[in-house]
């Protein structure tokens, strides 16, 4: 018996766009012996998002009596067509200035802005845990991170994940910025998906603040019962900003009267 498949192209239902690339191959097959089987292959390509399914049947002609015989109709499972997965990355730093040896947190947010889920996402293309450090890189060390600790996560469409590193700048004065990216695997195609490679704004590493103070009683000599002024000169000899919150004055033996200086 000759078995000829029906034309699948006329039996696609759904909302997705699908075009036939080739098939059926073979165009027909002879099923001579009982339980003989033949397979017919088509190749289709999805063009727009949505869903589709195939329905088809096979038809053949009895070689003895030349009657046409149809199989029962068969329906495929539903296939959902998605836009490819796409990774978008952005970076943010906790603060723009840090003091020498002060830690700063860097946040890398990865978002799947495409349709297909992306699996096994790493935050660098080299598989290391380090971010790229620009500027005073040699004197910048990774203290911790990334957190969450385990890369290789999955992002569904629209989902995002923020990873946090802690770095420490040890050179002054220094200017550092950080760069990173994400790479994963498209769940549908198995192909690698790379994000953009954002660079953070610069972080300034400043010398630690240092307080130097001088005290000037005026007048230098006085009589008991006189009111006098105590002048305190406070200087920040570092480069990092400093806020003087309070000043304590201790006067030995005599009565005392002191007020905090205004903040500088």
């Amino acid at each position: 018996m000759q078995s000829v498949p029906s034309n699948l192209l006329t039996n696609i239902s759904g909302t997705a766009g699908v075009v036939q690339i080739s098939g059926p191959a073979p165009a027909s097959a002879a099923l001579v012996t009982p339980t003989a089987m033949a397979s017919f292959t088509w190749v289709y390509q999805a063009t727009t998002v949505g869903w589709f399914k195939f329905s088809a049947w096979a038809t053949g002609q009895d070689s003895l009596n030349y009657n046409w015989i149809n199989s029962a109709g068969v329906v495929s499972n539903v296939v959902t067509v998605q836009a490819p997965g796409q990774l978008t990355a952005s970076m943010a730093v906790q603060r723009l200035t840090v003091s020498e040896n002060q830690d700063v947190e860097i946040h890398l947010t990865v978002t799947n802005t495409g349709g297909a889920a992306i699996q096994n996402i790493w935050t660098t293309d080299t598989g290391t845990l380090e971010l790229g450090v620009n500027g005073s890189a040699a004197s910048t060390i990774r203290v911790a991170g990334p957190f969450p600790a385990a890369p290789g996560f999955t992002l569904a469409s629209g989902a995002s994940n923020t990873l946090t590193w802690t770095y420490r700048g040890t050179a002054i004065p220094g200017v550092i910025s950080f760069s990173g990216m994400a790479v994963g695997t498209d769940q549908n195609t198995g192909q690698a998906v790379f994000s953009n490679a954002p660079t953070s704004v610069s972080v300034s590493v400043q010398a630690n603040p240092a307080l130097m103070m001088e005290i000037y009683p005026q007048p230098a000599s006085l009589t008991q019962g006189n009111v006098f002024t105590l002048l305190l000169t406070v200087t920040n000899t570092g480069t990092a900003g400093l806020t003087a919150d309070a000043v304590g004055v201790t006067v030995a033996a005599w009565s005392r009267s002191a007020r905090p200086l205004p903040s500088t």
Partner: protein, 73 residues
């Protein structure tokens, strides 16, 4: 030459063959005349063919631009 036609219907699976002879009467002598036995070729009785079709399992999701192979067996 004359033709005699018989119609049979196969009811069970298997093979069969037909054998027959022809007998006649001489019009002049009224004597009976019989041909030799003749066997037909064998005939095989089989089921009506039935076609069953099925699709391979297709991926649940795919991307635009991606190709898919559909197999019907």
């Amino acid at each position: 030459m004359s033709y005699f036609t018989f119609t049979y219907s196969g009811t069970l699976l298997g093979t069969l063959e037909f054998s027959t002879y022809v007998q006649g009467t001489d019009q002049n002598t009224n004597s009976q005349i019989q041909s030799n036995w003749q066997k037909s070729n064998q005939v095989r009785v089989r089921f009506e063919p039935v076609l069953n079709a099925s699709f391979n399992s297709l991926p649940a999701t795919m991307n635009t631009g991606q190709r898919i192979t559909v197999v019907m067996s």
